[in-house]
């Protein structure tokens, strides 16, 4: 009976932690199997411990090339989507204009549409235009589907900003440009940064839209996809694990720095 009561009281905690385990289990498997030394072409069954792949992460032809291509595309897509999206977000929050509803739906729709639909329609357009599929078509597509997410992130931040702050800056001798540079931009910065990070992550990890519009160009997710058909090298797991670890470390370090700064201030 006591046990049942304990279970009842901690139901949420237990269920929540089980879900967390479900979320993290594949990452554990990816990490463990980055130390595998598989027999065949596929890295799905545990054979023996080995650090070969970690010592030679670029040992598979095309892997590191695709990784660097993906990073490049993600950086450019982030830049493009952040600039265009931030401009739209400011226009939406700060100005009244005609066709507001149409603009809002045009921004909402790409987020409410399955990727495969966007991918297929864009490919139709590119084929009809006779465009050469490759780096540029991928970049165009990535900026397109990242744009809306940036708008949402920046809009939320700009909307919560007190318009009086900008008026105060103007009142204190800052012209329009100075006001934007010294007040608006720094205050909107967290929203813009969040949007940019999201754009980077979405672009870097995108497979479906890229798969349709890449032609013979191979990004990192496409490399993984191809290897799932032909044979999965252990190096894939190495890169997956390394990125996970680097991301967690970066977050922890930035949090520690933020905490220390906060403590110094007070």
């Amino acid at each position: 009976m006591a046990f049942v009561n304990w279970l009842k009281r901690h139901f949420v905690v237990i269920a929540g932690l089980l879900t967390l385990a479900y979320l993290l289990l594949p990452n554990v498997v990816v990490t463990v199997f980055s130390f595998n030394n598989p027999k065949g072409r596929f890295n799905y069954e545990w054979q023996e411990f080995s650090t070969d792949a970690w010592r030679d992460p670029c040992g598979v032809s095309g892997l590191c090339g695709s990784l660097s291509l993906s990073l490049q595309i993600a950086l450019w897509a982030m830049l493009g989507a952040t600039v265009l999206g931030t401009m739209i977000a400011f226009a939406l929050v700060r100005y009244r204009f005609r066709a507001r509803g149409a603009v809002n739906s045009l921004i909402f729709l790409p987020m409410a549409m399955p990727e495969v639909v966007m991918a297929a329609s864009l490919l139709t357009l590119f084929l009809n235009m006779g465009a050469q599929l490759g780096f540029w078509t991928i970049l165009i597509a990535h900026i397109m589907f990242c744009l809306s997410f940036v708008v949402v992130a920046v809009k939320a931040r700009v909307m919560s900003m007190d318009p009086r702050l900008e008026q105060a800056a103007q009142d204190l001798y800052a012209g329009p440009f100075q006001t934007f540079l010294r007040v608006t931009l720094p205050i909107a910065a967290p929203g813009i940064a969040a949007g940019a990070l999201l754009a980077f992550a979405l672009s870097f990890d995108d497979f479906i839209i890229t798969n349709f519009n890449a032609g013979s160009t191979v990004t990192f997710p496409m490399f993984v996809w191809g290897s799932a058909q032909r044979g999965t090298p252990v190096q894939i797991n190495v890169i997956g694990t390394a990125m996970f670890v680097v991301a967690v470390l970066l977050v922890l370090v930035s949090m520690a720095v933020g905490n220390r700064r906060k403590r110094q201030r007070t």
Binding site: V13, A15, G16, L18, T19, L20, Y22, L23, L24, P26, N27, V29, V30, F33, Y44, E45, L84, M87, A91, R94, Y95, F97, L106, A112, P114, E115, V116, V117, M118, A120, S121, L122, T124, L125, L127, I143, M144, L147, S148, V151, Y173, F177, Q178, A201, D205, F207, I208, F212, P221, V224, A228, T232, N237, G240, M243, F244, V246, A247, V251, M255
Partner: protein, 309 residues
């Protein structure tokens, strides 16, 4: 700094005051909107229209296609691929329900019970994103491998007997069955459920729980009458963020399923990239888009949440 040149004359200079009244740039919003919207129009809206036109064209790859208003393509596509459509909706719906059931406790845990662990759990929810989702999906091949510990345990508990009878699994296999696909979909879209749920739960004032308890509500009643209704915006956007991409997904069905679990995404992908039957592919993709827009609109109407963006 630029400010040096900008110093305004503060002394009472008899300034020439015949300037026209300040213009508050009427064209400014359009200037800000133009590049981004142009991008969306050219690379999102226009392609959708293009695709609509492709779907009513006839012809062949060699001789080119013409718009002939050949609506029969839709009928043929539907009659041939209705099982894939049905499967897509069923799998996506099951994955969405599972995501809600699994995600709610975790979101609740982070919002109200995690205390100083809150940030850590948050990081653990988001961090897997940094490992490519394809790699993580492939990991499920290992986890659900035939004769592996998971399948072994399910077998020993006779769970597989029940699921096989329901048609979710086949014999003592989990891989290459509907259950594996739904499991993969659930896993892949779970964070998209948890994050909006957490956002709306976190906004709830914990004192509301105390108030409900004070007004004779049991914990379960408090949840039903206070917490859950207040988290509705999160539930709505979470289910949409899960259901929409899950319906169009073909990665899970391809990596974890078999030919028996093909979803509409798989069909569109192979029609477009392998069979090169563009009208059929366009028609399928158009039907999928229309179906999702209708379902989403109805759902949003019913749940009464208009402000999703």
């Amino acid at each position: 700094m630029a400010a040096v040149t900008e110093a305004p004359p503060l002394a009472p200079t008899p300034a020439p005051q015949k300037k026209p009244p300040r213009k508050r740039g009427r064209w400014m919003p359009y200037l800000l909107l133009l590049p981004g919207l142009l991008w969306l129009v050219v690379f999102f809206a226009l392609p959708v229209i293009y695709q609509a036109s492709t779907s009513v064209q006839t012809g062949s790859l060699e001789e080119g296609y013409q718009v002939t208003w050949h609506f029969a393509t839709y009928w043929e596509a539907l009659s041939e691929y209705w099982p894939q459509f049905l499967r897509s909706v069923l799998y996506a719906a099951s994955a969405t329900v599972l995501c809600l059931l699994l995600g709610y406790p975790l979101a609740y845990l982070i919002a109200f019970r995690a205390g100083r662990w809150r940030n850590l759990i948050m990081i653990l929810v988001i961090a897997p994103f940094f490992t490519s989702f394809l790699i993580r999906t492939l990991a499920w091949k290992t986890i659900l491998a035939d004769g592996g510990p998971v399948v072994g345990a399910l077998d020993a508990l006779h769970v597989l007997d029940v699921t096989s009878w329901l048609g979710w699994t086949a014999g003592d296999r989990v891989l290459a069955t509907p259950m594996a696909v739904v499991c993969g979909l659930t896993y892949n879209f779970l964070p998209f459920m948890i994050l909006p749920l957490y956002t709306s739960l976190e906004r709830i004032d914990p004192r509301l729980h105390e108030a409900a308890n004070d007004l004779y509500a049991k914990p379960s009643t408090t949840f039903r009458k206070v917490t859950f209704p207040l988290s509705m915006p999160g539930v709505v956007s979470g289910t949409l963020l899960t259901f929409i991409p899950a319906t169009g997904d073909y990665v899970n069905a391809d990596l974890l399923g078999s030919t028996e679990t093909r979803m509409v995404g798989n069909v569109i992908q192979s029609q477009f990239l392998r069979i090169l039957d563009y009208p059929t592919a366009a028609a399928l993709s158009f039907i999928l888009m229309a179906a999702i827009l209708i379902m989403v609109t109805l759902y949003i109407r019913k749940s009464g949440t208009e402000d999703l963006v």
